[in-house]
């Protein structure tokens, strides 16, 4: 890794996911004077304020005006700066969707949107502050790369990788602390490449964001309790999706469960289903996430449990899919 900022498991217990982002951005700021940072009155909440402290002349708080922020960032990018923008995911993807679509994506400018409070991670704030459609919105925007890191260490990797990529990038990270998936940053993070967290041949769980940790826990439990070999893929990049990893999962395991802190419409589950359908290969399949509903109010962990996107929910879904005979037609001889 470039630079000297190497994160450890110890730091993971002390730093929130957003703090990893803020520190990484400040580190990048030292290396690259063209980086500027913008927020809409959320310097502290999104931790972009860590950059502000070190580079006050390259930091711009536009007030509570997200549409303006995205336009200003597009102008700055057009003039040669590399803007990082931070606000909550629900606002970044909806409040200024037109500016994201036209100013950022259509113009294909080199701007990086680091959207915090993803999914239901700001649980107690309710649905006005839950981002449950941002994958659907951002995945459909041409030129935009969409990333959902699993924890703080992966966030640091993703933010660095986003800088290296020339073009617009949307990264959604959670509020608060994520369960630690990676103790070491050197696991080969690459945009568009899924990471296999657990080997398996019976079924594949494809998870993104904080659900990846839950999926790994579920796989370990199912191995001991049911003797199941569960492959777990951390699909940190929603777009471009790692199609090869999905196709391999269909071929090798014939059963897939997707898990995301997002509506099941338009997110990871939809993306995987698109690959599966276009390949013409049938597969046992369940999407875990919000079942086209808004989420209840509560602690993030509680909401994840209620939605069935925690380890218990994943265990139940895996057992369900394992118990189903998806090959209803015995004579279906053209399968993989």
């Amino acid at each position: 890794m470039a630079g000297g900022f190497v994160y450890t498991a110890v730091e993971s217990t002390e730093m929130s996911t957003a703090e990893y982002y803020g520190n990484t951005l400040a580190e990048l700021g030292r290396e690259h004077p063209e980086i500027v940072a913008l927020t809409a009155d959320l310097a502290n909440s999104t931790k972009i304020g860590i950059f502000q402290k070190e580079f006050p002349d390259r930091f711009f708080n536009v007030g509570i005006a997200e549409q303006n922020m995205f336009g200003v960032a597009a102008g700055m990018a057009k003039a040669g700066c590399v803007p990082f923008l931070s606000t909550f995911s629900v606002f970044a993807s909806l409040r200024c969707a037109d500016q994201l679509h036209t100013d950022i994506c259509y113009q294909n400018v080199n701007a990086k949107i680091i959207a915090t409070h993803a999914g239901t991670s700001f649980g107690q704030a309710g649905s006005t502050h839950h981002a449950i459609v941002d994958f659907a919105v951002t995945r459909a925007m041409p030129n935009l790369t969409v990333i959902c890191p699993a924890d703080g260490v992966e966030t640091a990797n993703a933010v660095r990788a986003a800088y290296e990529l020339n073009g617009p990038v949307y990264i959604r990270i959670n509020r608060g602390f994520d369960r630690v998936l990676y103790a070491d940053p050197d696991y080969g993070f690459e945009i568009g490449k899924a990471v296999e967290l657990h080997e398996g041949t019976d079924i594949t769980v494809i998870a993104t964001g904080s659900c990846a940790f839950q999926a790994l826990q579920a796989a370990n439990f199912l191995e001991n309790a049911d003797g199941l070999k569960v492959r777990v893929l951390n699909m940190h990049t929603l777009k471009p999706l790692d199609k090869d990893a999905v196709l391999k999962a269909i071929m090798d395991t014939r059963r897939i469960v997707t898990v995301e802190d997002h509506n099941i419409i338009g997110g990871l589950g939809s993306a995987v289903a698109e690959v599966m359908a276009e390949a013409g290969k049938g597969c046992g399949f369940t999407r875990l996430g919000l079942k086209d509903t808004f989420a209840p109010i509560g602690l993030h962990e509680d909401i994840m449990s209620m939605l069935g996107i925690d380890s218990n929910g994943i265990i139940a879904a895996v057992r369900d899919v394992m118990g189903k005979d998806f090959e209803l037609d015995d004579n279906w001889d053209d399968e993989v």
Binding site: E34, N68, G71, G75, K78, D98, Q99, Q107
Partner: protein, 288 residues
């Protein structure tokens, strides 16, 4: 420095040529946003032929002045200006709006040379212009940013968000024009959604507002000269006529967008010639 008579006459001649080229482009395309194109042609003319520090052979020059056309539907006027200036081949205007053309109603900054922002969705230009002006500060560059908004598009709240930013950071390296032609798609701006008192609104948002006749090149140039020397962000509120120069279009909101056939084309050409003569007479009368 005040505009000399020769300079004024030369700019009148250029504006006349560009009005004609805008009409031609509308005719070739079959139809277009000619009303709002004609109302801002004098502003575009003084920018591209007096003020913008740009290089014909180096359109991406990092130190160039920026121009953001927020009223993106005036592409039918802007494309002729960019072709006439030399950034793009004039022949391209004959393909305007045609399938697979590089030029459509709203110009694409990644396809049309010289376009600093892809606009069309209204209320986007002023934030982008604030961004290029802020970037000049960060990158320690002395270029100016000019932005031209329509008046109807000022209904969009994002303009006022940008106005706050321009005032907060005192972006006096940005000069904003408002093409106050009083008309939008559904009618007069004051009937659709009241804008007045518009100058007071911008003043209260922190701009130094200069009201001028937007069809008077001398007044426009004086206002830009004032803005260039101002320690504060200046907004030039240009009172204009939709369809300026063509009698049946003038101040007629129905000519926000329209089609030009052979008969109409000849009529418009005649009107533009008459209009030019009157403008030259004014120069002769008023120039010192």
């Amino acid at each position: 420095m005040s505009l000399t008579k020769d300079e004024w006459l030369a700019l009148e001649k250029k504006a006349h040529e560009l009005r004609n080229l805008c009409l031609d482009t509308t005719y070739w395309a079959g139809s277009g946003h000619i009303g709002g194109g004609m109302s801002c042609m004098d502003i575009l003319t003084i920018l591209y032929h007096k003020y913008l520090n740009i290089k014909k052979d180096d359109p991406d020059w990092a130190d160039r002045d920026r121009f953001i056309l927020s009223k993106g539907h005036a592409g039918i006027a802007y494309a002729p200006v960019l072709c006439d200036y030399g950034y793009n081949d004039k022949e391209q205007l004959k393909t305007f709006n045609l399938t697979n053309s590089k030029m459509g109603i709203h110009l694409d900054s990644n396809k049309v040379v010289g376009v600093d922002a892809s606009t069309g969705s209204l209320g986007h230009g002023l934030p982008i212009a604030a961004g290029t002006a802020l970037a000049a500060r960060v990158l320690k560059k002395s270029y100016m940013t000019y932005c031209l908004t329509g008046d109807g598009e000022l209904d969009e709240g994002s303009n006022w968000e940008a106005a706050m930013t321009i005032n907060h950071y005192n972006l006096n390296n940005l000069i904003t024009f408002v093409d106050r032609n009083h008309n939008m798609i559904d009618g007069n701006t004051e009937d659709v959604m009241k804008l007045e008192p518009l100058a007071d609104k911008f003043t209260s948002f922190g701009f130094d507002v200069k009201k001028v006749d937007g069809q008077n090149i001398k007044e426009l140039c004086d206002a830009v000269d004032y803005a260039l020397a101002s320690p504060r962000p200046v907004l030039i509120l240009a009172d204009t006529a939709k369809g300026a120069g063509i009698k049946m279009m003038e101040n007629n909101y129905k000519w926000h967008y329209g089609a030009i056939d052979d008969k109409l084309y000849e009529e418009c050409k005649k009107d533009l010639e008459e209009y030019y003569q009157k403008r030259v007479e004014r120069v002769e009368r008023e120039a010192k």
